[in-house]
């Protein structure tokens, strides 16, 4: 037993441990993302429970429209690709390409936020508010019209659940805040990369912002499916 526990083996053990100094930041980021994932998970689980329990939930694809959001999804996927390209460029020692790809990633995030602001404005102007909306639906959840004061509802028609807007704005708003934070974080990393703050041997800072950005993309994939398509 004492034969096995030699200094040599100890050195091998510490090399194999995930807690090497280079990966402390990565470990920290993953723990943060796991906590963040639980916040998103709670929002989505609440959404699922409220929707499953409601008899007057509108068909989201009809109420929200999915063409624009499909484009936003495509945009975030593209920005994830430019993010991995930025990291790969710095690992290969190509600093200008790294900065270029980071700038493209930031642009993807900014355009995403602009499109989300446009979508929200459109929905609010059409009467979909945080706690109430004016959708009139039939028994299948199909949107058949918009309610206004004094309007008579035909047989089988009803007003859509106000919780539809609540869950929509809370979930997409929480995600949008993450995109905004990601844009700020990416800008800081890009400025550091422009000043030569990273080298092929030290790309940890770029990898960490990448982990955050891909997580934001990953969450949007789930939000797009559950909130818009299902």
């Amino acid at each position: 037993m004492s034969q096995v526990a030699t200094v040599g083996h100890g050195a091998v053990d510490s090399y194999e441990s995930p807690l090497t100094p280079e990966s402390w930041g990565k470990l920290g980021m993953w723990i943060f993302l796991a906590g963040d994932a639980m916040s998103f998970g709670a929002l989505l689980a609440t959404y699922g429970a409220l929707r499953f329990g409601a008899s007057n939930w509108p068909n989201p694809a009809e109420a929200l429209g999915i063409t624009l959001t499909a484009g936003m999804t495509f945009l975030l996927i593209c920005s994830s690709v430019t993010m991995v390209k930025a990291l790969a460029a710095m690992q290969d020692g190509d600093q200008p390409a790294c900065v270029r790809f980071l700038a493209m990633t930031i642009a993807g995030g900014v355009i995403f936020l602009g499109l989300q602001a446009y979508e929200w404005t459109h929905l609010i102007n059409h009467g979909m508010l945080l706690a109430e909306n004016n959708f009139i639906i039939d028994a299948t959840g199909s949107v058949v019209g918009h309610y206004h004061e004094g309007k008579e509802l035909a047989a089988g028609q009803m007003r859509a659940s106000g919780l539809f807007g609540t869950t929509f704005y809370m979930t997409t708003g929480f995600h949008g805040m993450h995109v905004f934070s990601g844009v700020v974080y990416l800008t800081v990393v890009m400025l550091k990369a422009m000043r030569g703050g990273y080298t092929p041997e030290d790309t940890n800072g770029i990898e960490l912002v990448g982990l955050y950005w891909h997580f934001v993309d990953l969450v949007w994939i789930l939000v797009f499916t559950f909130v818009y398509l299902v």
């Binding site: 995930p18 993953w30 329990g53 790969a88 993309d217 499916t225 398509l229």
Partner: protein, 96 residues
């Protein structure tokens, strides 16, 4: 093997095409399939596949140590648990 100063990178463009293809299929599914159960099953499995591609390749989880994978799995298990705890409450509408 890679030369000095260069790294082997996963085929990121292949992952991109998979993500794009799955997104197009996802948008098409609600137009083609209206029955709720197969529609939801298909959409959820495609979303999970896309999320897994992002985590495994873009976030490099496939090439990382096991501990990070365990950290990533923890919230999924807890959220699945939360979902099953909420389910009985919201399914009263369907029972009675």
């Amino acid at each position: 093997m890679a030369g000095n100063g260069t790294h082997e990178h996963p085929n990121y463009m292949l992952i991109f095409w998979w993500l794009l293809g799955l997104t197009i299929l996802e948008v098409a599914v609600p137009m083609v399939i209206t029955a709720p159960v197969p529609k939801i099953a298909l959409l959820v499995s495609m979303a999970v596949a896309k999320a897994a591609l992002v985590a495994l390749y873009f976030m490099h989880l496939r090439f990382e140590k096991k501990l990070l994978g365990i950290i990533a799995l923890t919230p999924m298990i807890i959220c699945a648990f939360l979902l099953f705890m909420l389910m009985p409450d919201s399914s009263w509408r369907w029972i009675g």
